[in-house]
């Protein structure tokens, strides 16, 4: 049997694709394969990461153009089959723009591009993305975004809360996100979008390892 392979999607303007690949291959020994956005063949990958960056230069809105790439069209079947998809930062923006996750990400309340470590509460273990072995309820991950303020209407927020779809909340909300939301899943739990960067917290020498578990959980069935 071929070993489990995570597809890392590369858009024009992605800039965390190599970081994700480094974290998966170098820190977790999980095989990765870069997938160019014009490809629509997902047959030889078992999970997918949409990495951070500025796909298509963030033209129009963050993630708005990426939504129409062949690989995102092919993602529908992949998600329906129950395979796991992780959208980090710009990847989260693409997942909301394309309707895989509800809501939208808009400009930070204070207009600053925020590059910092943030404390996050693990709110829900839906999909097993944060069931870390140490039973940690708070983790620290880096954020780096100008448009990371999660917004949704009150009905959507109620649905997110009632169905335990909110995975992560900021302890000290840095960007004005509704309900301090930093990450959410779909109802099935196989799609996670989050603004913080787990791939930048996978080795003590770069400040922490709280991102390891989330990346490792890509291999969960």
């Amino acid at each position: 049997m071929d070993s489990f392979t995570v597809g890392v999607v590369v858009f024009p303007g992605s800039n965390c694709d190599r970081d994700v690949s480094w974290a998966l291959e170098g820190c977790l020994d999980i095989r990765t394969k870069y997938l160019w956005h014009e490809s629509s063949d997902l047959s030889d990958v078992d999970a997918i990461v949409l990495p951070g960056g500025f796909s298509y230069g963030d033209y129009l809105r963050c993630g708005a153009i990426a939504r129409f790439s062949p690989i995102i069209n092919a993602l529908d079947e992949f998600v329906k089959s129950g395979k796991r998809v992780l959208g980090i930062c710009n990847g989260f923006q693409i997942l909301t723009e394309s309707g895989f996750l509800p809501g939208a990400l808009v400009a930070n309340k204070n207009l600053n591009f925020i590059c910092d470590d943030v404390e996050l509460d693990i709110v829900s273990s839906k999909g097993g993305w944060f069931n870390n072995g140490d039973e940690k309820h708070t983790i620290k991950l880096p954020i780096a975004h100008g448009e990371g303020r999660y917004h949704c209407d009150s009905d959507t927020l109620k649905k997110l809360v009632d169905n335990e779809l909110i995975s992560l909340r900021y302890k000290n909300n840095p960007n004005g996100s509704s309900f301090d939301i930093a990450g959410i899943t779909n109802e099935k739990g196989n799609v996670l979008g989050l603004m913080p960067h787990p791939e930048r917290a996978c080795d003590e020498t770069i400040g922490g390892t709280d991102g390891l578990f989330t990346l490792k959980s890509l291999i969960l069935k």
Binding site: L60, G103, N108
Partner: protein, 84 residues
């Protein structure tokens, strides 16, 4: 085929905070402009398009607005259509 010039206006919904608008409002007041009650920033997209009559072109523009130009979770849109 008829030619049309379309101006699409995309605006953040009133319920969505517009920090860029707030910052510009603050700068406007510093400039000395008085009486500004509200200032919000949107986008205007100009499209030249051809089609068989206004109805067909409106259908195309509605699709573009709804699926691409605006994210209706956070934005509203309206457009002006002029036959050339």
């Amino acid at each position: 085929m008829d030619q049309f010039a379309v101006k699409v206006f995309v605006r953040l919904r009133p319920s969505v905070l517009d920090p860029a608008g707030e910052a510009t409002k603050s700068a406007s007041i510093k400039l000395g402009a008085e009486g500004i009650k509200s200032l919000r920033i949107g986008k205007m997209i100009e499209v030249k398009i051809e089609g068989n009559g206004e109805n067909e072109v409106r259908e195309k523009i509605d699709l573009l607005c709804d699926r691409l130009f605006a994210n209706t979770v956070i934005e509203d849109y309206e457009y002006l259509l002029e036959k050339l």
